[in-house]
């Protein structure tokens, strides 16, 4: 009889995995199955045989589950449950929102303290990521139960750019208005990248070597960006309406906005967006991959047009750092399109039209970049390397390697020689290079270029 119980257990687990069949339905069908088995056994079959016959009579699970889905189509539109309702224990269910709220408030207070304690807009802005991101990272660590050792290591690593950004003797740019120098701007634009990838280590729960976890963090980042944009749009509408209504009675919202709403609202939005992304995981189709599907063909058309125009109208007229930055932006765009479609692709699916478009897109981006770079090479040598040009060129090379190798792997996959997993793995294997490059720009560039 124990064998039959095991088999019923297995059957139950198998049925439960069907999205359209709910727990109560499974219970109802299990009762049926057991009655049938009991009757068959009474008729002289042994337990095993009775189970097999009863399961057979229950019918093909795919068909039954399709029938359930037709009747309960709402179950396939999975519902977003932010606070677990029925099954969870009473006080525990508010724990996660509570912890999140504490982290969000903490980030707000930290921003407030930063603005109170530090003078100078530039000093405030360059420290902003260092006061906000630790709270997000802390929430990751809490949520993923990241080991203390990993948290401590990440914190120690994050302290290095923090000290560098604040203690390096940066010089201000010469000119009528005091403005930060080149290396200072580079350092504070690259530091958040470094911090974000460190926060990613906590997001992986300490398993930062795992490619799956890294890919999860990539997906998380894409969804977070989308949610953040949507939340900010919503907040903008709300604030606009409030300000409009208040202005009717002559009350100015701006002081409250600057002093309280922005310092608490912006970090709060970041944390709430992060929470939403985690909560809705597997509930809704990820939006970033959907957008990549739409924009990949369009981006390909754009790049091919760019390439033709560059080749026909060449040589380039203005060859400077702006062009380099423009090329970096093009490569980053293509990289995001690649990364997010890779993140949502079934690695087992055979190569399709979309993979060819993807390959063509990467190829076109590489061609455009090559044309621009060769045109610039002579000029750069002529005028020497400034910090900005070197940073832009370096990023270009980092991206170029990433995309060129992706193109090679993708071509192999489309031709049928390589598995898609190789393309996927390369994306996540290459991620630390960005952290390294950001670290170099933050830590090494300022001393090399004399803190100018």
């Amino acid at each position: 009889m124990g064998g039959v119980e095991d088999q019923i257990d297995q059957w139950r687990g198998f049925v439960r995995r069907r999205g359209a069949i709910s727990g109560a339905d499974v219970e109802e069908m299990e009762d049926h199955l057991r009655e049938q088995i009991a009757d068959l056994e009474a008729g002289g079959l042994d337990g095993e045989e009775a189970f097999l016959v009863a399961v057979r009579r229950m019918g093909n699970l795919d068909e039954v589950s399709r029938e359930f889905a037709r009747e309960h189509s709402d179950r396939l539109w999975k519902q977003l449950v932010l606070v677990p309702e029925a099954d969870a224990a009473g006080p525990g269910r508010w724990r996660e929102p509570g912890v999140l709220l504490a982290f969000a408030l903490g980030a707000g207070v930290a921003v407030k303290l930063l603005f109170a304690a530090v003078d100078g807009e530039f000093e405030q802005i360059r420290n902003l990521p260092f006061v906000v991101l630790p709270f997000l990272a802390g929430w990751f660590a809490w949520k993923r139960r990241t080991p203390w050792g990993v948290c401590a290591a990440a914190a120690a690593l994050a302290a290095v750019p923090f000290l560098a950004v604040n203690l390096y003797p940066f010089q201000e740019a010469p000119g009528p208005f005091p403005s930060p120098g080149m290396t200072a701007v580079l350092a504070f634009t690259h530091a958040p990248v470094l911090l974000w990838l460190l926060a990613g280590v906590l997001h992986t729960g300490g398993h930062w070597r795992s490619h799956d976890r890294r890919m999860d963090f990539v997906r998380f980042t894409g969804e977070l960006a989308m949610y953040l944009v949507l939340l900010q749009l919503g907040a903008l509408v709300l604030l606009g309406l409030t300000a409009g209504v208040l202005s009717l009675v002559g009350v100015d919202l701006e002081p409250v906005l600057e002093d309280w709403l922005l310092p608490f609202g912006l970090p709060g939005a970041l944390l709430v967006a992060a929470w939403l992304v985690e909560a809705k995981k597997s509930v809704v189709e990820n939006i970033a991959p959907v957008l990549t599907r739409v924009f990949t063909p369009l981006a390909l058309v754009m790049l091919v047009a760019d390439l033709v125009v560059l080749l026909v109208n060449g040589p380039l007229t203005a060859v400077d750092r702006d062009l380099l930055i423009l090329m970096d932006a093009v490569l980053v765009l293509v990289l995001f399109l690649l990364l997010y479609s890779v993140s949502a692709r079934d690695p087992l699916a055979p190569p399709g039209v979309f993979d060819r478009i993807q390959l063509a897109l990467v190829g076109a981006a590489l061609a455009v970049d090559t044309v621009a770079l060769t045109a610039m090479l002579g000029r750069i040598a002529e005028f020497g390397f400034t910090a900005n040009k070197t940073a832009a060129l370096g990023l270009n090379l980092v991206l170029l390697v990433h995309l060129a190798w992706s193109a090679r792997l993708l071509a192999g996959f489309v031709r049928g020689g390589r598995p898609f997993a190789a393309v996927e793995r390369w994306q996540t294997a290459y991620l630390p290079v960005y952290a390294l490059w950001a670290a170099v720009v933050v830590l090494v560039f300022p001393p090399v270029f004399g803190f100018a």
Partner: protein, 124 residues
């Protein structure tokens, strides 16, 4: 005897409603009753009964309640409602039209006016 699945599907609703009109019941007992009624010749895919019962419940033709079986397991019982009885009467009227028409067809078919097609000859 194998009965075409479209025919099984079409007759399932009136059968279930009719069985429930005899009194409150539950899934397995309904299947057993169908077997009895058809002398074991109508084989249902048992799993398909439940989406059907849920559809009848949603439409208000049956009312469901959770009870306990003799063995102490939770069991869902179904009882027919007023609207279910109404639906059963409608179905019954429809089926009697169909059955009547079929009966006439069977009678005519028993004495075909034309002989069957001639056996195919060889091709030179």
């Amino acid at each position: 005897m194998h009965i075409d699945k479209d025919l099984v599907a079409a007759s399932a609703t009136p059968l279930v409603l009719g069985i429930l009109a005899e009194g409150e019941s539950y899934g397995y007992a309904i299947v057993k009753r169908v077997n009895e009624l058809s002398g074991g010749r109508m084989q249902w895919t048992d799993g398909m009964l439940y989406p059907l019962l849920h559809r009848l419940e949603r439409n208000g033709h049956v009312r469901a309640s959770w009870g306990t079986s003799e063995a102490g397991r939770r069991r869902k019982h179904y009882a027919i409602t007023e609207s279910g009885l109404q639906a059963l009467a409608d179905r019954r009227a429809q089926w009697s039209v169909v059955a009547d028409a079929l009966r006439q067809v069977w009678e005519t078919a028993a004495h075909p006016p034309f002989p069957g097609p001639a056996p195919a000859g060889g091709i030179a």
